[in-house]
């Protein structure tokens, strides 16, 4: 599905997307949070983007770990440790690998989810990024089981991620800042679930 060169392309595409969606993600964070999700990720992925040239020729594990460490040390807030841990742990799982097939990709996502759940002490249905991550993982797992091609698998993932993000509008958050506004959060889409959906979309675009 992707060699380490393509992984670098994916990371670059995600970085550009985060820059592009900076204002939108920040706006989503306004009514239920503290208006900084896009700013945070924008700052983090700008730093990631600068590291990319230095990562040429490295294995996928090293690339993902470096992305994670960079996010941890530049994003801050809640999303920094969460996305940071997700990439770092995924990198550990891919240590030494030069190529990732669709099964590896599912491992990456699963590892990332576990990292977020552990760090964030959260599960699905709490109106966080997990509400995009988990259902999209399940959709992709199902698609693989059904023997779908990588492209279709990712399409199914992206679709499920967005509907998971959409679903956060119906949830009263119990984790993250959105939990402070309680019922007022109803009708608002979680910024983290949204940023995750954008990321998956970029992966699908670059690999598809």
């Amino acid at each position: 599905m992707a060699d380490s060169k393509k992984v670098l392309k994916i990371i670059q595409a995600i970085s550009l997307k985060m820059e592009e969606q900076k204002d939108y993600l920040t706006e989503l964070d306004q009514p239920i949070g503290d208006s900084d999700h896009g700013i945070n990720l924008g700052r983090g992925f700008a730093a990631v983007n600068e590291k990319l040239s230095g990562l040429e020729g490295k294995d996928i594990g090293t690339i993902l770990k470096t992305v994670g460490m960079t996010l941890v040390s530049t994003v801050g807030g809640a999303s920094g440790p969460l996305y940071g841990s997700a990439f770092m742990k995924a990198g550990q799982a891919m240590a030494g690998k030069e190529d990732a097939d669709i099964t590896d990709f599912l491992t990456i996502i699963k590892t990332a989810i576990e990292a977020v759940e552990l760090r964030g002490k959260a599960v699905v249905e709490e109106a966080t990024m997990l509400d995009a991550m988990v259902p999209s993982y399940q959709a992709m797992e199902q698609a693989v089981k059904e023997g779908k091609a990588a492209e279709e698998v990712l399409n199914a993932g992206v679709k499920a991620a967005w509907s998971g993000a959409e679903h956060t509008k119906d949830l009263i958050a119990t984790k993250g800042r959105a939990s402070y506004v309680g019922e007022r959060g109803l009708g608002h889409q979680d910024p983290g679930a949204t940023s995750y959906s954008f990321m998956l979309e970029e992966i699908s675009k670059v690999t598809g």
Binding site: D36, I39, N40, S73, G76, A78, P81, G176, V181
Partner: protein, 328 residues
């Protein structure tokens, strides 16, 4: 957005520099980032470190100095600092007596401080932490992240800081900090929002006759919105929620009327006038009152009331001399 700044990306650094230049006798900035430490490292005592996003000035750098904090780590505005920043702060002030981190209860703060502690422990530094959660606006529950840490955190800095200064060990300092956390409650309201420089727009908007009740300290909206009321009525509303949470009757308290940044002292005094009267009516004795800006939300027009139930030990530690830019 109109602000006395130069560039939204330079806000945090120039602010920290300006602060350190104002108080060179108290403060020093680490070269590696927005970390403020005591001008002279204090050995032989537990080192206290706190911090969080910027935008809460004078917190937290203003509370670095004798009798309070040893280091304050400042993230971007309203965004938790990163683990490596916090770790630099820990390294700079750690002593053999260990390090206590005073963390406000926000997912981001807790996770970043925890990761920093993990890094420090790998280097053989003993790090413990407490999590402040004084905001009664948010209902505490097993299934949620729980209450936020707000202005009451400053009492933790002061009292745990005074205990650390006596040479008490890490467990004792941590227990003292926890005792303050267990006895302090806060609630706030706002009539005008604030604007994060990098966002350029206010965190929420209010019409001419609305206020937000139960605001946090990150410019985020509160728990609900109401028509503006008289100051005394707002005080009564906030106080009753605080007094429901802890039974303060018959006890002696410290009071903090904390301005959110844009509220004039005039109004804070008017607020305190009512707070004083209500507590007197209820037979709650006031040991000391603090009116001013301790934990702000940039230029938000709002305030919070904190009540700390005191015992003799906390009273003595609260009154102990401190020498920091914002508390002395």
């Amino acid at each position: 957005m109109k602000k006395f700044i130069n560039d939204t990306v330079l806000v945090e650094e120039q602010m920290i520099l300006g602060m350190v230049k104002a108080y060179p006798r108290h403060l020093k900035k680490l070269d590696c980032g927005n970390v403020v430490v005591r001008a002279e490292k204090k050995e032989g005592k537990v080192a206290l470190i706190s911090g969080g996003g910027s935008g809460h000035e004078p917190a937290h750098g203003g509370f670095v100095g004798t009798g309070m904090l040893d280091a304050a780590v400042a993230g971007p505005v309203f965004t938790s600092p990163t683990p490596d920043q916090i770790y630099e702060g820990i390294k700079a002030v750690a002593t053999d007596a260990g390090v206590l981190m005073i963390v406000k209860n926000y997912t981001g703060d807790v996770m970043n401080f925890e990761m920093a502690a993990e890094m420090a422990e790998m280097e053989g530094i003993t790090v413990k932490h407490v999590v402040t959660n004084d905001d009664v606006a948010v209902k505490d529950s097993l299934y949620t992240i729980g209450r936020r840490g707000v202005a009451g955190t400053v009492f933790v800095h002061k009292i745990a800081g005074a205990m650390a200064e006596t040479g008490a060990d890490l467990d004792k300092v941590q227990a003292t900090a926890q005792k303050v956390i267990d006895n302090v409650r806060t609630m706030g309201a706002a009539i005008e929002p604030c604007t994060v420089p990098a966002a350029g727009k206010p965190g929420f908007t209010l019409s001419d006759d609305e206020m937000e009740i139960g605001i946090g300290i990150h410019g985020e909206p509160g728990t609900h919105r109401e028509p503006v009321k008289k100051a005394d009525e707002i005080v009564d509303m906030l106080l009753s929620q605080i007094l429901e949470d802890i039974d303060y009757s018959g006890s002696e308290v410290a009071v903090m009327i904390n301005g959110a940044g844009g509220t004039p002292l005039m109004e804070l005094y008017i607020i305190n006038n009512r707070v004083s009267d209500v507590l007197a009516e209820k037979g709650i004795r006031i040991h000391k009152t603090f009116v001013g800006e301790y934990m702000t939300s940039i230029e938000m027009q709002g305030f919070s009331i904190s009540l700390l139930r005191l015992d003799d030990e906390m009273k003595q530690l609260l009154d102990a001399a401190a020498d920091t830019p914002a508390w002395n």
